[in-house]
Amino acid sequence: MADAMNVGVNLEAFSQAISAIQALRSSVTRVFDSLKDGMKNKETLEGREKVFITEFQDNLQSVNRDLNELERLSTLVGRPSESHPLHNSGLLSLDPVQDKTPLYSQLLQAYKWSNKLQYHAGLASSLLNQQSLKRSANQMGASAKRRPKVQPSTLVLPPQYVDDVISRIGRMFPDMAIELFRPNGTSAVLLVTLGKVLKTIVVMRSLFIDRTIVRGFNENVYSEDGKLDIWSKSNYQVFQKVTDHATTALLHYQLPQMPDVVVRSFMTWLRSYIKLFQTPCQRCGKFLQEGLPPTWRDFRTLEAFHDTCRQ
């Protein structure tokens, strides 16, 4: 008992105990075999009975001996060490039905994966923090005296001001029809119809463009319940590409202090799509590349390029 606490599992006693179990099993089997075989053939009945009883007694005594041996050895085998590093999850690994419910191996994989994810996320955040990606004018509260929740001034603009800016921009471009809706609170949602080429839905957050989705002129912009459908993609690959480019554009045009200039630049860029199907690519001179017309418009010069032709 003394060495059980200190040493941990006594491997020698463990293997001896296993062989003692085997011996016990075989002696028990012998008992039942002799019972099954019954009395052996001898001349007299008394002789037969005597032989049978002697054999049976011998077998039972060997069983007794083996059992005592096993009990002695089991006290020598130590308990597994108390300081088990796995705690509760280690108990899962003792589950005998490993094939049907491989919980422990899945648990290990999930743990390794989440560790890796955390590490990569840390790397990514340190890389991204090197460049400020905030599009709104925010005052970084450096001292603890300032209230941490300082609302950026350009994010809280009165809806009337937003309406004015949008209508002014709408008047600037005669071939663009801009309609303003406010289906969800104070965020404006614009439906911009560009000639007979495309329709864009621009979701705004005060005067910042949040999201845009471009669909064809003949596609339905309203969903079944009559509201503007701002989520479903266009059915045509060309307009799916233009949606991607428009998202790039709204991230490109950034000027935190003057958001109305940003909106005007974005609308100017969008207006260049009025000749989406008529202009060939400036680089290769062709109209089609993999079935798509030149969908990229350069941010400064507004020239048309195929997506694969821009530098």
Partner: protein, 211 residues
């Protein structure tokens, strides 16, 4: 519904209708088009009876398109046209006294339908009373609705698989003022098919075609 152009493709040198169609299919598949089933466009002719003598009999054409399977189109050549649902055929049977069906003049184009990016291409064999008369190709550019805008684009696409035999701007579009868009009920497409079928009807039977 986009801008559609229907044209006739001449047979390749020394090849039959089916062989030329197979060549076109192979070219389309090389480009990367995916086959999406079959299509049928047919046209039946009706003579308008009961006209005063001396006037030429007016011909009424009733056309069907598998793209709009529930409707059919009735039109006079160069005149007004009507879009009706499938029961219009039954109505025509009831109007036997006013419109006689010219049974031998039914023309139809049947073939495969391919999709490539935003284009829909249909290559069909034109048959009239079960004799092959030619090959029709219909190219539709779905995203655009103004024919004047995308004509050059479509021409470039057709050149990539039809080779040198690309058509001119269809007369349907030339008569409309620039910038008027294609209506959604494929009247323009069917008008183009009608012109093509009329041309084919007047042609002689192709030499060497078998039944």
């Amino acid at each position: 519904m986009g801008v559609t152009c229907v044209c006739q493709v001449p047979l390749a040198e020394g090849k039959s209708v089916q062989q030329t169609i197979d060549i076109l299919h192979k070219k389309l598949e090389q480009l990367g088009a995916v086959k999406q089933g079959n299509f049928t466009v047919d046209c039946e002719t009706y003579h308008a009876t009961g006209n005063a003598s001396g006037q030429p009999t007016k011909l009424l054409y009733v056309m069907h398109n598998s793209e709009t399977p529930l409707s059919c189109l009735a039109l006079f050549e160069g005149g007004p046209c009507l879009t009706a649902d499938g029961n219009f055929d039954v109505l025509m049977i009831k109007l036997k006294s006013h419109f006689q069906n010219a049974k031998g003049h039914k023309v139809e184009s049947r073939g495969s339908r391919y999709r490539y990016c935003d284009f829909l291409i249909k290559v069909g064999a034109i048959t009239m009373s079960s004799s092959a008369r030619g090959i029709s190709v219909e190219v539709e550019y779905c995203p655009c609705v103004v024919p004047g805008d995308c004509w050059n684009l479509m021409k470039e696409f057709m050149q990539s698989f039809l080779g040198p035999s690309i058509p001119e701007l269809p007369s349907v579009f030339a008569t409309k003022p620039e910038g008027l868009y294609v209506p959604a009920d494929c009247v323009d497409t069917m008008t183009q098919y009608l012109e093509l079928f009329s041309k084919v009807r007047k042609q002689q039977v192709l030499p060497g075609t078998t039944r």
